[in-house]
Assembly symmetry: C2
Homo-oligomer: 290 residues x 2
């Protein structure tokens, strides 16, 4: 990492120092933000935030809010992390609901799935926002000039899908700034049909976890395959949480060291490309047009 | 196949006879049901049924309805096939909506996904029916005494998922005749957590097509792997269409000879175990209890 980038470790100071020492690192080399409460993985979001102001989740988001940090990364309790981010950072202007995006690896790079779990019941307008935020992400972070945006559906025709999805099709189609290519089906993910796949977080979450499990089958079957690591979700690092006033990256609860390293890279990208600002401008531009 | 089983070929007689001859088969060996109209793969369901009474889809379902056939199999236009089945066969008593089930292969056998595309917006009670029909299928056809039934969701807790899914959880939990094991997540499919996975047809269709595409990746990567064919959807044959008064098996539009062979086996099973009768009895039993 660039020497200008400073990594602040958030958590119980004694534990962090002892872990660093065990790895032969000088604890003085890292600023530590002391957080002596721990939010459990199954703890309810609201009570965790209320009752554990000294947890790493709450303190990290607080320091992000106060701009002492540029990006905050955690592999802790997702629900509590998201709630803390929404409550303490607030939604960006024009954003209906925050959403979780996921990069999905394919042979030649990545596509972007949005939403993958923050929103289960999604109104058509919200699905359109996933498309807009996804396109901005792929453009800004992945450098794709005109990202293709597809609506995940059960067939190619406009008339397919749930009521909400049918209406979302109309909205996406009428959004001029989007390179909307129509519906995509389950098999199109692997076929790299689109750069962004729009879907409700119920479908997205099930699809993502299912895809993840395939990596383990592949890995067992073909440990030496050169492409196998393309499918390893640990390599992708965390998932960006889009739509809040702050750069937040969610890690998987089972993240290993490689995953954390990649989450840090992912976080750096969000800051460098100023993703939030780009999302703000796009949404405000659309409001002005409307 | 048992010599008592007679295969009737439905379609344009001249085409069928010429195809049989090209394969060195005696056309006299198969009864042919002449159908000289063809429903296109993209044709609208209603107009196809209205305007093409002499198509194989319509004639096949008609002969099923008149009990001249015990089971009807087609890899034609799915929408038209399902509409014809519902209109001409009618729904079984107590069935809210017909549904499409799919066997999903895993290392030790199969699990059953329901629905995989017939119903996009699903009410909680309908999701429960998928569970009941799926359990009966796995019991009758796959010989699993007490099939485990899980609700596909985005987390283990009851409070997860869409409004409809949260309510479906309550209904499934309170259904005594079901061995309901709670929520399943995307990764649980591969882990063989359950025998039946209940989901709306929007999620199910996307998941199934996505899973299907993985087979092609596997196959390309590991053509000689002994387990690879477990993931080949062609080997499973068609998908049973549950809830109508007749045994109907839907084939994939791209079915090959192997797939057709397996569809015939699949169809035979439905007849042999008298699946419809078992579904009727279960639903009537539940109505009596209620």
């Amino acid at each position: 990492l660039d020497s200008q980038i400073e990594i602040v470790l958030v958590g119980p100071k004694a534990t962090i120092e002892s872990e660093l020492q065990q790895r032969g690192e000088d604890p003085a080399g890292f600023p530590i933000l002391e957080a002596d409460q721990v939010v459990g993985m199954d703890e309810g979001a609201t009570s965790a935030i209320r009752n554990k102001p000294q947890s790493s989740l709450v303190l990290g988001v607080q320091h992000l809010s106060g701009q002492a940090l540029d990006v905050f990364i955690s592999a802790g309790n997702t629900g509590a992390f998201l709630s803390a981010a929404v409550m303490m950072l607030g939604l960006q202007e024009g954003v209906m609901r925050p959403s979780i995006g996921a990069l999905y690896p394919h042979e030649k790079g990545y596509s972007f799935l949005c939403d993958v779990g923050a929103n289960t019941d999604c109104k058509p307008e919200l699905l359109r926002q996933f498309g807009i935020m996804g396109a901005i992400f792929m453009q800004a972070v992945m450098g794709i000039a005109q990202p293709r945006v597809a609506l995940m559906n059960i067939g190619e025709e406009k008339s397919k899908g749930t009521q909400a999805v049918q209406q979302a099709y109309q909205l996406l189609e009428s959004t001029e700034r989007l390179n909307f290519i129509g519906n995509a089906e389950g098999r199109d993910l692997v076929a790299q049909k689109s750069d962004v796949y729009v879907m409700d977080g119920f479908t997205g979450n099930i699809l993502l976890k299912f895809a993840e499990s395939f990596y383990y089958i592949f890995k067992k079957k073909m440990p030496d395959d050169p492409d196998i690591e393309n499918f390893n979700f640990q390599n992708i690092g965390g998932l960006p949480f889009l739509g809040v006033n702050g750069n937040v990256v969610l890690g998987h609860g089972i993240s290993n060291a490689e995953a954390f390293k990649n989450m840090i890279y992912r976080g750096r990208e969000l800051v460098e490309v100023n993703l939030q600002d780009k999302i703000s401008k796009a949404l405000q531009g659309m409001q002005a047009e409307a």
